[in-house]
């Protein structure tokens, strides 16, 4: 009874404070411009208690100005086996800052965050959400997490969301005097303050007031985050394992030790690998054979659990079950190669088409994937062990063009993965077109895609059935109205991956007719249509795919029609790439040739107008028409 009484009397700290705060009228006008929500206050305090224990306390208040800002009324906190949510409170205020509602414990949703394609994860979410529609209103969240996974320290980018203005934000990191913080300030944040005393090391960064950020297109990935800080430990403990993290060498050493001794195979498999590669002398051929065996006999499944995020299953387990995650499959392949005397290294990488490269001058865990690197006398082969159809040595858009950290017995070494130049990422197309006097056409098209330009088509070939492939092609062939009478997609296992696509098309009104004339755009299938809007730009921009496209279109002209007009040859060069196109007519056959090359680079904002002009000139040349007219 006494207990009950006490809990009734206990008034939450939140509710006692009924002095209105967060009145929407207090938001400076400059912060309202273009904003759908304003971050009034944002305080994050990361307190490291020891090398293996820390808490993070976050307090934030956001005023939502209109319906488009509604997403900010939801706060998601992730947790897992090593990170617990110890407190989560949420409160709603009206336009005048008067408290309306406070979420009860039962109102906070607790959800699983296991992604599809995952066999086992322990990721979960706590979600606090307000559904309210009388704008403006303010939501306030307060939460604390405690973690024993100190491989990671938080990144802090409070202004990264678009349409959000920021009144003030503070980030504090407090460490015991024995531990040193490593950090990297990004995107123009004011240098933080550091205070060291006998009892603790304190760091403090401050932002605000900041109006809504104009997010310009084609920005380098890190720049899209806005001003902020990345932090990392100098030494850490996680799940009973510890290490130093002051250099790539040390991070690699930790990962090596964590995974050492897990590459032993059962004897039967050792024999199997020996038999498979018997008779081969070229080590590269042996690697291909082993990789082929891997692709035929295992499949990828994601498994994320505590330290299992960084420590592989033993190779013997994969031998038995036939599945594994990226670490398990890479380690398994490493074990098979070791059994025939070929050394290789696990390598961690930040994989993904849109992921930025790691910041090479800030050693820290910036990775999300593991691959295998096989150094060979002549060259190095990189193996993507989670794919059942990628050729040995092909890294593509997923892991190519970036750095990876080799995990070697001597520690980590940061190296380059394969880089793909414009000529590697090619699209070579040949079209033979028969044209009727009415302008209807039938075309035989053969296109060979290589490197990064083949990635999508390889996926279409392997992941879609014939019906869905046909549907996909219907969607992606840029001709106004046509029927696809036959098609084929063929791939190969060359190190620079390629896919050859053949199409038979019937094209209605391939050339448009007006009276006695036919208008034909000889660039039937490869027209460049993406023209960025020319706007005054204030930030640098990044073109992240280099490629070359070539086209040869031959058109058998209908009898009785002659060429009234053909476009002049076009040729130009710029720092972004080059373009040339020409039409020739001989013996009743028209031949159109085109070559477009684009570089991969990052350019200063002042070059943006020139880049849009480059795109526009190409689009215009690609629209050029040939005019055919009835011969008198």
């Amino acid at each position: 009874m006494k207990f009950l009484l006490l809990s009734l009397l206990a008034i939450p700290a939140f509710a006692t404070d009924d002095k209105p705060q967060y009145a929407a009228s207090a938001i400076p006008a400059a912060l309202r411009t273009g904003a759908h929500a304003v971050l009034r206050q944002h305080e994050t305090t990361f307190t490291v208690k020891s090398a293996g224990k820390a808490t993070e306390r976050v307090h934030l208040a956001i005023t939502i100005l209109d319906e488009s800002g509604q997403d900010h009324a939801t706060q998601v906190v992730r947790y897992d086996k090593l990170t617990k949510v110890t407190d989560f409170e949420a409160q709603l205020y009206d336009a005048n800052g008067k408290s309306l509602k406070r979420l009860k414990k039962a109102d906070i949703q607790d959800l699983s965050a296991v992604s599809s394609g995952s066999l086992f994860e322990d990721n979960r979410l706590k979600v606090g959400q307000f559904r309210y529609a009388s704008y403006p209103f303010t939501v306030e969240f307060d939460y604390e997490t405690s973690t024993s996974n100190l491989l990671f320290y938080p990144g802090w980018f409070p202004h990264h969301e678009k349409d959000l203005a920021l009144e003030r934000a503070d980030f504090r990191v407090i460490l015991p005097p024995t531990l040193r913080l490593r950090f990297r300030e990004l995107n123009g944040i004011t240098i933080g303050k550091t205070d060291s005393s006998a009892t603790e090391n304190r760091h403090h960064w401050h932002l605000g007031p900041l109006p809504v950020r104009e997010v310009e297109s084609l920005r380098p990935a890190y720049a899209t985050l806005g001003p902020g800080v990345l932090t990392a430990p100098s030494s850490f403990e996680v799940d009973g394992h510890g290490g130093e993290l002051r250099s790539w060498q040390e991070l690699g050493k930790f990962l090596y030790d964590l995974n050492a001794g897990r590459d032993e195979l059962p004897e039967t498999l050792r024999q199997r690998v020996k038999t498979l590669t018997a008779g081969l002398t070229d080590p590269a051929a042996k690697v291909r054979k082993v990789y082929d065996y891997l692709q035929q006999n295992t499949r990828y499944i994601s498994i994320q659990l505590g330290i299992g995020g960084w420590q592989t299953f033993p190779a013997a387990t994969v031998a038995q079950t036939g599945y594994g995650d990226c670490k398990a499959l890479s380690n398994y392949t490493k074990a098979m190669l070791k059994s025939i005397g070929i050394p290789s290294h696990l390598a961690v990488v930040r994989a993904g088409d849109d992921e930025p490269d790691v910041l090479t001058d800030f050693p820290s865990v910036q990775f999300n994937h593991m691959i295998l690197c096989v150094p060979l006398p002549k060259d190095t082969l990189w193996l993507e062990c989670t794919s059942q159809n990628s050729p040995a040595g092909y890294a593509g858009s997923f892991t190519g063009n970036r750095h990876a950290l080799l995990v070697t017995p001597e520690g980590g070494k940061l190296v380059q993965t394969p880089r793909y130049a414009a000529t590697d990422n090619a699209q070579h197309r040949r079209v033979r077109l028969m044209l009727s006097p009415e302008g209807d056409g039938s075309a035989e098209v053969t296109t060979r895609y290589t490197g990064q330009q083949q990635d999508t088509r390889r996926m279409v070939k392997h992941q879609l059935g014939p019906d869905d492939q046909r549907q996909w092609l219907y969607k992606h062939i840029a001709v106004p109205s046509f029927d696809l009478s036959a098609f084929a997609l063929q791939d190969d296992a060359e190190r620079l991956a390629s896919v050859t696509e053949t199409l038979s098309l019937t094209i209605r009104k391939c050339a448009s007719r007006s009276g006695s004339r036919l208008f034909l755009t000889p660039n039937l299938l490869s027209a460049w249509t993406s023209i960025p809007t020319p706007t005054a730009r204030t930030t640098e921009f990044e073109i992240d795919l280099a490629f070359v496209d070539t086209d040869t279109v031959t058109v058998k002209l209908p009898a009785g029609l002659g060429v009234e007009f053909q476009p002049d040859p076009v040729r130009f060069d710029s720092k972004f790439g080059s373009y040339e196109a020409a039409v020739r007519v001989a013996d009743g056959t028209l031949t159109y040739t085109r070559r477009m090359l684009r570089h991969r680079d990052t350019y200063p904002h002042a070059d943006y107008a020139a880049y849009t002009d480059f795109c526009r000139k190409i689009a215009k040349a690609d629209r050029a028409q040939v005019v055919l007219v009835k011969k008198e």
Partner: protein, 416 residues
């Protein structure tokens, strides 16, 4: 069920769940044998019919609107506007309302709260008005042979004007009278009333209507400059009013127009009638071509609709099993007038044409008129019914093929 291939979504497919074989269950106690029984149950329910009884708090407003607007149309419009302006929709669909006095006082609610309040207010102004229960597109079609409360998930309002039904919905501020939100356009709805219960068709009478007009002067160097205007009515007006309301309007308009007319620089974008729901919404701008038209010797060649043409057939797949559902009847009009300078003559023009769909469900008319130095191209596409069956697909696809081909035809001008 065995060996069923995967269901694939096509463009303009609505209510996909209606096409997947399924069983539905219902407890026998809650089943009504007839729709009339179900009407009675709805009217007795305290979250539906009963909410309309205790509405004394609306009497004063109702009386004042009645005095101020003797004309029925003006009165129903004013009641509709009153609810839309004084209450905010929370984004949710619902069939069941809260106590209407509470809804009124807290000034917000879901679709049932707002629309039943509208029914009550219309009645307080002396008009006949009824709840219109329906099933939204996401919720699937109502099966006439199975009277069931779970068929419905939404309620709108219905009143009459000169013997004609008028649909009303107070959820979106830009809905004029007789326009239901597109989510509601699903087969039929039920007028819930003991004396006047009946089914009404929800096939929209209003169109998605867009009419573009360009008036361009042909410059001596082969460039074009002039004015463009887009007039939107019916569902097109609703769509554009919503787009314009959510954004930083002037830069949004500038960017949108630049994207849709890529070969021109856009200046002085403006719009009119954004809040006059009874009138078409106009978007206007001034255009200047970025580069001269394609020229060969003394001839100019160009597609005359200046980017407003249909350049692709939306129906690419050769066959289709499920219906094509546009949601509403469509109406697209393009008109371009060129003023030619002295010394430029017409050498070749596209020919006028008319294409129709069977039973006059669709019609396309294209005409070219040369009148002195004015060259006028007009194109008009009307689809009178909002959906077409899988069996009509190949005809519809061929119809669009012909439109795309017609729009691609070119004008040839010659410099003397």
């Amino acid at each position: 069920m065995e060996n069923i291939p995967a269901f694939r979504e096509d463009p303009y497919l609505v209510g996909a769940s209606d096409y997947v074989a399924k069983l539905r269950f219902q407890t026998s106690q809650r089943t009504s044998k007839t729709w009339e029984e179900l009407d009675a149950r709805l009217l007795k329910n305290e979250s539906f019919g009963q909410t309309l009884l205790d509405t004394g708090f609306l009497t004063a407003i109702g009386d004042s609107l009645r005095m101020k607007y003797p004309d029925t149309l003006a009165r129903l419009t004013s009641a509709h506007t009153y609810v839309k302006q004084h209450l905010i929709w929370n984004g949710a669909h619902n069939l069941w309302a809260d106590n209407l006095r509470e809804v009124f006082n807290r000034k917000k609610g879901d679709a049932a709260d707002l629309n039943l309040l509208l029914v009550a207010l219309l009645r307080a102004t002396g008009l006949e008005a009824y709840p219109l229960a329906l099933s939204t597109r996401d919720n699937g079609q109502i099966l006439a042979e199975y009277p069931s409360l779970t068929s419905f998930n939404y309620v709108a309002a219905l009143t009459t004007l000169g013997g004609k039904d008028i649909f009303l919905d107070a959820t979106l501020p830009y809905l004029p009278p007789d326009l239901l939100p597109s989510a509601c356009l699903n087969g039929k709805g039920r007028v819930v009333d003991l004396a006047h219960a009946r089914w009404v068709s929800l096939i929209p009478r209003q169109r998605m209507s867009v009419s573009t007009t360009f008036r361009m002067a042909f410059g001596p160097d082969g460039t074009l400059s002039g004015q463009a205007e887009m007039a939107c009515a019916g569902y097109a007006a609703l769509l554009w009013r919503m787009r314009l309301s959510a954004k930083d309007t002037s830069s949004f308009l500038q960017k949108t127009l630049e994207k849709s007319i890529p070969n021109f620089t856009v200046s002085q974008p403006s719009f009119a009638n954004a809040d006059s729901l009874a009138k078409p919404l106009y978007l206007r701008c001034t255009l200047q071509s970025r580069e001269p038209l394609q020229q060969a010797g003394e001839r100019y060649y160009f597609m005359p609709l200046l980017g407003s043409e249909r350049s692709e057939n939306p129906f690419k797949a050769p066959t289709r099993t499920y219906p094509v559902d546009f949601g509403f009847p469509l109406e697209e009009t393009n008109f371009v007038e060129y003023t030619l300078p002295p010394g430029i003559t017409v050498e070749e023009l596209p020919k006028a044409a008319t294409f129709t769909l069977p039973d006059n469900y669709g019609r396309f008319m294209y005409s070219v008129i040369l009148n002195g130095n004015k060259l006028q191209i007009s194109s008009r596409l009307v689809l009178r019914k909002p959906s077409f069956t899988g069996g009509e697909y190949s005809t519809l696809r061929a119809f669009f093929d012909k439109i795309v081909a017609k729009h691609a035809e070119q004008v040839v001008l010659k410099r003397e």
